[in-house]
């Protein structure tokens, strides 16, 4: 028993470890709730693209910040919101298909970000942190920013629950009820953008989409009501954060990767064994 307590408490002896754990739980939960809409509205590619596209903003923040990392969050946030609204507008012009336009924009922005970061000498380590996250580098200030903005995102989703539900299920009904569909559309994109920036330090841009999509997809297999889907998704996200943190500590693998792998494992188990909808269940019923 003491051994187990030691296993759990041991890594928490250092404040930066505690901050890292808190960040992963928070990010896992917020991403997972926003992710329900990403999954239901088929926006996984958009989420992935958006995460990559904020890199140039982060890079500029990195250049101007020197050793203090504070400005990175704000530069990332501004870029994310501009990109989200930009992609939203691109979808409306019909020169090329929407996913093609997103692909072009995302790769171009990503390349620009890498180019900017590569102007700094000895940039490789920092670039790796932006790409894959550096959860042990989370400062108290970072944690507060993440908590405040993550909280705002959740609050918005709860406050506009029925509007987002109608808009996602039946956009034409939203029109006939005279809901401001354009506003809801862009607000949704901005919520995803803010979530992306909040998660940047914990998991990095390359793995972000997993936190958005995987817990929500898991919850989708387990329930057929949206509030329950959000709750289960948040739970899966937070639990993945905790388990990933400990696995990362004891097995010595990158924390972001560990969290995503735990998420993926939970999804695969659910896909196989979910009551009624799991693959094993279907096989048995046949």
């Amino acid at each position: 028993m003491d051994g187990l307590v030691e296993v759990i408490v041991g890594p928490l002896a250092y404040p930066f470890m505690v901050r890292g754990l808190l960040a992963l739980v928070m990010v896992g939960g917020v991403c997972a709730v926003v992710g329900t809409y990403v999954v239901l509205r088929g926006m996984a590619f958009f989420g992935s693209a958006l995460a990559h596209a904020i890199l140039p903003g982060v890079a500029v923040g990195y250049l101007v910040s020197g050793s203090t990392r504070g400005p990175i969050f704000w530069w990332g946030l501004a870029t994310a919101i501009l990109t989200a609204v930009g992609i939203g507008a691109v979808g409306k012009s019909a020169k090329v298909k929407e996913d093609t336009a997103i692909g072009i924009l995302f790769a171009g922005m990503f390349a620009l970000g890498i180019a900017i970061i590569s102007t700094v000498e000895g940039y490789a380590g920092d670039l790796a942190h932006f790409l894959f996250g550096n959860v042990l580098g989370v400062s108290a200030g970072d944690l507060w920013l993440a908590a405040i903005f993550g909280g705002l995102v959740l609050l918005t989703i709860v406050a506009l629950f029925k509007e987002f539900l109608v808009f996602s299920f039946d956009p034409l009904l939203a029109e006939t009820l005279r809901l401001p569909t354009g506003f809801l559309h862009y607000l949704m994109l901005i919520l995803i953008a803010v979530t992306t920036v909040v998660s940047l330090q914990a998991v990095g841009v390359a793995l972000m989409v997993a936190l958005l999509v995987t817990p929500a997809a898991t919850a989708y297999l387990l329930t057929r009501r949206l509030p329950a889907m959000m709750a289960i998704s948040a739970l899966v996200g937070a639990v993945s954060g905790v388990l990933g943190f400990y696995i990362s500590y004891y097995v010595e693998v990158a924390s972001g990767a560990a969290v995503v792998l735990v998420c993926t494992a939970i999804f695969l188990l659910t896909l196989l064994f979910a009551p009624r909808r799991g693959l094993v269940w279907e096989r048995l019923r046949r």
Binding site: K162, E175, T176, F183
Partner: protein, 272 residues
């Protein structure tokens, strides 16, 4: 997005105006005119079938009436006002256009119709759920409130959407191919509900493929092929010349004994 759009104020109905009046409306869709110079008016409580070949502009007409596609010229008035201010126009979608795996149950979907009445930041209260239950009772689905929508039969899915339109307190209901893919008893259920709606003076416009049903079960029929080829009693509208003009060789006409025609639309049958 002007801030004004976030503040809801809905148009008052004028008693002296017809529930729907379309004047010389032309509507563009995908860069071409899908409707040209269409004019008609509907009285409250009427049941009208909209028929025409695929691509005739039925969906475009509905979207224009709902207010999603503004006409390029001409005008559309619902109870005396433009459609944009109303929340009393319900659109019942074609079943094939709905994501049936979406995580909502029957009561959730019907409650969506109340969102316009609830207003921002309000949660549905007990009396809203009571109203939803009442709407489900009208379409004989009271016992299925907790069902996942994916578990419903085709007829039940259609009735759920009618209940949603009732929850919206719709005065004008537009139904896109509600009978497609339904067996005869399920179709009869729908017509029974349409009778109830007529008693409540709800005006119903139904896009339909089956010309026999259109002729037999509706007050008036509207024959559409980009232009309005005819609007009136079925026997006045469904003349061989007009049907030929609308469908060309897609249609087989058979002369019946008592002057009525048995008609069959051999077209592909929509996208279900």
């Amino acid at each position: 997005m002007p801030i004004g759009a976030l503040v809801r104020s809905h148009a008052q109905h004028r008693d002296d105006s017809p529930i729907l009046e379309v004047q010389d409306a032309s509507v563009a869709y995908d860069g071409r005119l899908a409707l040209e110079g269409v004019s008609f008016r509907l009285d409250a409580g009427e049941r009208v079938a909209v028929v025409g070949p695929n691509g005739a502009g039925k969906s475009t007409l509905f979207k224009a009436i709902v207010g999603v596609l503004p006409p390029a010229s001409g005008q559309i008035r619902v109870a005396g006002h433009g459609p944009g201010g109303h929340i009393c126009i319900a659109y019942v979608p074609q079943r094939s256009h709905v994501d049936w795996s979406f995580p909502v149950n029957v009561a959730d979907v019907v409650m969506m119709g109340r969102v316009g009445k609830l207003g921002w930041l309000r949660r549905p209260r007990q009396r809203d759920w009571d109203h939803v239950r009442h709407c489900l009772d009208v379409v004989c689905m009271g016992s299925m409130a907790d069902r996942q929508i994916g578990e419903l039969s085709g007829g039940q899915q259609q009735r759920m959407f009618i209940a949603r339109a009732l929850a919206q307190e719709a005065a004008l209901m537009l139904m896109d191919e509600p009978l497609i893919g339904l067996d005869i008893p399920s179709q009869e259920d729908i017509f029974h509900i349409l009778d109830v709606l007529r008693e409540q003076r709800v005006t119903v416009l139904v896009a339909i493929h089956d010309l026999n049903l259109a002729a037999e079960r509706f007050d008036r029929v509207m024959l559409l092929k980009t232009r309005l080829l005819g609007f009136g009693k079925p026997h006045e509208v469904f003349t061989p010349q007009r049907l030929q003009a609308a469908y060309g060789s897609q249609l087989h006409l058979i002369e019946g004994e008592n002057g009525l025609m048995a008609l069959s639309d051999t077209c592909c049958g929509g996208d279900l």
